[in-house]
């Protein structure tokens, strides 16, 4: 095969961008509005946790209540006041819920706010080690945040600017207000509060309706670790299909992007169907999570996909 043949065949290999991927990219490529929270997405089956922002230990002061008001009012700058008002109006604290038996962590849904007018659903959850005397809990997403972990890393093969490393690193917020860098990171044992404890890593996997897991679609996600050692997650779902003028917006979208007609029409149909499924009893949902104990030198597959899974079931009151 000549180089020209290789080039031509590579060109034929990759197809056009799928409509949904194009749509996602378009929305992210229009940066007029800064993301209110760290964008991470959750697919129907799995949390694809992208690591834009790291675990935060918001040890600013004792006594902070990490509720939704704090997430949007303090942690996130310039939240739309109307959004804040709607969120407060629709807020349900600690909805009735049930966690499957778990010997390592307590997981609970702290707050839920279903905002049909805003096309948003916001859910915060909290994970706590059951035995903090012996276990230290962190988010699994605080591990290897920079993607520079490479078990086969050989320093001699890279230039000096390369940030690769062959051991796992843990990310922590630097709590020293005088520090130049907001985050600090390094090999796991060095980053733990107390490396004599056993390290547990918590990871939210999926938050979805029980009967129609695809309904919520993608979410943005933020997370932090409190000074008390709790791991908190915030899920924000854009549920545009809930809005009254969703269909009209999609029709305008078709006018702007005629090549997306088929995709947009299918979205309109799905939205109509989804709206019809809402009823006065709300939506039964399930949060699934995973907890793995980190052991230095452990198998990476076990680290990234092993451990034990648990669930919390709860209901979202849709108010219809």
């Amino acid at each position: 095969m000549t180089e020209q043949e290789l080039r031509e065949r590579l060109n034929r290999m990759t197809g056009e961008i799928p409509a949904e991927t194009h749509r996602v990219f378009l929305s992210a490529a229009c940066p007029g509005k800064e993301a209110r929270i760290v964008k991470r997405k959750i697919s129907a089956g799995l949390v694809f946790a992208l690591v834009l922002i790291l675990i935060t230990v918001a040890a600013i002061a004792a006594g902070i209540v990490y509720d939704l008001k704090w997430w949007y009012g303090e942690r996130t700058a310039e939240t739309d006041p109307e959004f804040m008002r709607k969120m407060a109006e629709n807020l349900v604290a600690e909805p009735e819920q049930q966690q499957t038996e778990d010997s390592l962590v307590d997981v609970k849904v702290r707050e839920v706010s279903w905002m049909p007018d805003e096309g948003k659903l916001v859910v915060s959850i909290q994970a706590t080690a059951k035995d903090p005397e012996h276990f230290e809990l962190h988010s699994r997403l605080a591990l290897d945040v920079d993607g520079a972990y490479d078990p086969d890393f050989e320093p001699d093969m890279y230039d000096e600017e390369c940030e690769g490393h062959a051991e796992h690193w843990l990310w922590r917020e630097n709590t020293d207000p005088e520090a130049d860098e907001r985050f600090r990171c390094g090999p796991v044992p060095q980053m733990m509060d107390d490396s004599s404890k056993r390290l547990l890593l918590f990871e939210g996997l999926q938050l979805a309706p029980l009967e129609r897991p695809e309904l919520f679609g993608y979410a943005s996600m933020d997370e932090l670790r409190t000074p008390e050692g709790e791991v908190l997650y915030l899920f924000e779902y854009s549920q545009d299909w809930m809005k009254q003028d969703y269909d009209r917006q999609m029709e305008e979208y078709i006018e702007e992007y005629p090549n997306m007609k088929e995709y947009a029409e299918s979205q309109i149909a799905k939205a109509r169907e989804a709206r019809e499924t809402l009823n006065s009893e709300g939506i039964s949902c399930m949060l699934s999570y995973r907890v793995v104990e980190y052991i230095e030198g452990m198998d990476d597959t076990e680290l990234y996909a092993g451990g034990t899974e648990g669930q919390v079931t709860f209901a979202i009151r849709t108010g219809k």
Binding site: T14, D146, Y149, D150, Y304
Partner: protein, 158 residues
């Protein structure tokens, strides 16, 4: 620093290239969507770090490669192969080439695609991948050699 309109234009012009890079690393379309979205957002946040517009393609590719690394290392390799969704193949797509390419290790596959598909020079690839030029050359040689072996094997078996 680039203004919003300029940035968006350049980003959209790079969309197809970024998607092809994503396809080089990631099997799942959901992963690719994540990588595309995160790349766009990170690029906007860090646009002040781009000193000259002419380096936009190299710069944005580097961000995409890093994003793909994150996703690939954290997730893709953990997905059992029998549950992996197939990469969409275009009509008249070169499925055989895709299979050959997928047989290569990532370290060889990526420079090959960046060079032959996206037209990056080997020096640019070294910058994108944070590696030395000799290492890029070495990996390219290895990749071409592996493809040649695979290709010849397939031709002989026909």
């Amino acid at each position: 620093m680039m203004d919003e309109r300029q940035f968006t234009r350049m980003l959209l012009e790079s969309e197809q290239m970024l998607y092809r890079i994503a396809c080089t690393f990631l099997r799942s379309e959901a992963d690719r969507q994540d990588a595309m979205q995160e790349t766009a957002m990170k690029a906007w946040k860090n646009r002040a770090g781009l000193r000259e517009e002419r380096y936009f393609r190299t710069w944005i590719s580097r961000i995409m490669v890093n994003e793909c690394h994150n996703l690939y290392r954290n997730y893709s390799r953990c997905v059992p192969t029998d549950t992996m969704p197939d990469r969409p193949v275009p009509e008249n797509g070169d499925e055989e080439m895709r299979m050959l390419l997928e047989g290569l290790p990532e370290k060889q596959r990526v420079p090959l695609v960046l060079h032959y598909l996206e037209g990056f020079s080997l020096e640019e690839i070294a910058k994108i991948q944070h590696v030395t030029l000799p290492l890029v050359k070495y990996r390219m040689r290895q990749a071409r050699k592996a493809l040649r072996v695979e290709w010849n094997g397939k031709e002989e078996s026909k």
